[in-house]
Amino acid sequence: MSNQQMNSKLENQDYPVKISWFALTWRPILARAYPRMIGVRRQPSWVFHEAILPILSVAAFAYVYRAMNAPESYIGFVILGGAMTAFWLNVLWSMSAQLYWERSSGNLELFIMSPSSMMTILAGMALGGMILTSIRALVIVTAGILLFGVVLQPISWWLFLLAFLLTLLALYGMGMMFASIFLMWGREAWHLVNLLQEPVYLLSGMNFPLQVFPTLVATLAAIIPLTIGMDSMRQILFATPGFWPLGFELIFLTILVILFIYLAYRFLRYLEDKSRQEGKLTIKWQ
């Protein structure tokens, strides 16, 4: 029977079965992305959370701007801001706490014990979050175009795609870094998230152009990739003058991506070693 076939198949293999580095990278990434994408869809309330709620919040801002007789382009900013904030919130609220949660459920020790790198697990979480949130972002943008007649006329769609992807990578790179920090600091880190969430609405210039703010504050806010990412996307989409020249912003984003991912990697390594010394990798409470 199949049992027999199975056994003979097993017997022919040598220990340990060689698995390529490539398979040990993309398989964990896709696998870890899977529960994030499927998981949310299986919650009955997902349509409400993923589609209706974002549209409502964006619509509220758009109507306020209309009532204030703000320039039409501001409504475009709102739509873009709403879509990108969806990613930001996803990074803050899902990504950051993930590893922490994985530890309390006991998955973390299984991940660490496995031959795959923790970075692939983090990347999988990020990928899942990105794909999932893209649905929400798409809903917002579609609603913006249909409800408020926002016109998207980018200088170049390719350039826009580049700016968008760089922003996403930087955001989720930061999320990966946060996830590692979270694991190290535990609950303390919740305060960090709370701290980051509120000012980001203002500082990242989500709902209005960045120049309104004094340069210093804006520069500080630029640490958050969302700020620069959105400024560059605005420049491309609405041909408005930006905070920095477009090319500079794109290079800056690329540097952020590399920096965040590198830091995430360093933090993870440090944390793994430290927890292994202190016996805290497998703790199920704190």
Partner: protein, 358 residues
């Protein structure tokens, strides 16, 4: 024979939690509480390749700590540990593809995914192709009797069903060395039995596989393990086959007899060479203790006879002596020490002496 697992003076200490150390720093004179807890204190262990090795010990003995070190999840404080000849500290990466672990009561997995999906996910972090993973998943689910729950979400499983899923998870990656930390915890009798059967078969199926098991069920340890170690307070107390462990408890064969005897003076057992210990106690004074097999209308007094012999063969002479003294043997039983006896004796002693020390 190559060692699958080897530890040399393996030691692991934990810092006491911050809260208690703060408390003790307030009361500086109170130094009775040591700052470190020794979970493993110099363990030397050799587990051969192909062996099903059992680790027994009371709660908090250090079993899980040892397994965590061997599975590269915990660093040793001092000493060395090797898995498949590789150092757990410096060669963790090479060890990881070869091992897996199943712990009792673990709650791994994602509640939103079903059993199959969860098992698939955990096979992917070992880079196993999906088709092979699916095949193994179906096979394992069948073995533990969870096929009908394959598409059930994990959040809707019972404790035992969850444990069965965990059990499958450990085998799907086809590890060379598998660690089972109380794998039958929470399983019903039938499930535990078929899992034990499977574990035995699995180990023999492919040479080179090794299994380290911890359990609190003595019967399970005795039935499964080629060799056993008993640890307590982080120290290895003894190590050997189940039979060897039982023999350390009882070096000489012991027999228990019930005899009917008219004249006690005629019976001369203590003079027979090879009798180490001999005790005769009358049973009749207490008629309640008589078993149903004894004749109620017995006229002669009944005795219970306890014997320790140098050799089993001596029992023949004992029987002759009883018969020639006109005695009647109502019952003859060889006293078999159980693993539990051995465990209780070893660990029980430790507990007592440990309490005196502190």
């Amino acid at each position: 024979m190559q060692n699958a697992i080897k530890t040399e003076n393996l030691t692991r200490t934990y810092q006491r939690s911050k809260k208690s150390s703060k408390k003790s720093s307030k009361k500086k004179w109170d130094n009775s509480q040591p700052q470190e807890l020794v979970a493993l204190g110099g363990v030397d262990l050799n587990i051969h390749s192909g062996e099903l090795f059992g680790l027994l010990g009371p709660n908090g003995a250090g079993k899980t700590t040892l397994i965590k070190i061997l599975t590269t999840l915990l660093a040793p404080t001092s000493g060395k540990a090797f898995v498949d000849g590789l150092d757990v500290v410096t060669q963790a990466r090479e060890i990881r593809p070869r091992i897996n672990i199943v712990s009792g009561g673990e709650s791994c997995g994602y509640g939103v995914l079903n059993v199959e999906e969860n098992l698939w996910l955990f096979s992917q972090i070992y880079g196993i192709p999906t088709s092979i993973a699916q095949e193994r998943i179906q096979q394992m689910l069948e073995i533990v009797g969870l096929q009908d729950k394959a598409r059930t979400r994990v959040s809707q499983l019972s404790t035992g069903q969850r444990q069965k899923m965990n059990f499958c998870r450990g085998f799907i990656t086809d590890p060379k060395i598998l660690f089972l930390d109380e794998p039958t915890l929470g399983l019903d009798v039938n499930a535990a039995r078929s899992i034990r059967q499977f574990v035995r078969d699995w180990l023999r199926e492919k040479p080179g596989r090794t299994l380290l098991l911890t359990t609190h069920y003595m019967m399970e340890a005795e039935e499964l393990c080629d060799r056993l170690a008993i640890i307590d307070h982080g120290k290895l107390l003894t190590c050997g086959t189940p039979n060897e462990l039982k023999q350390t408890l009882q070096q000489f064969p012991q027999f228990q007899l019930v005899i009917e005897l008219g004249n006690v003076d005629q019976l001369n057992i203590s003079t027979i060479p090879g009798v180490k210990e001999y005790r005769l106690t009358p049973l009749q004074e207490n008629p309640d203790s008589r078993s149903a097999s004894m004749p109620v209308n017995s006229v002669q007094p009944i005795f219970s006879c306890h014997l320790t012999l140098a050799e089993e063969a001596v029992i023949g002479q004992i029987v002759q002596a009883i018969v020639s003294a006109q005695g009647k043997i109502l019952q003859l039983q060889k006293h078999q020490p159980t693993l539990e006896d051995a465990f209780v004796q070893l660990v029980g002693h430790r507990l007592e002496s440990g309490e005196q020390g502190s």
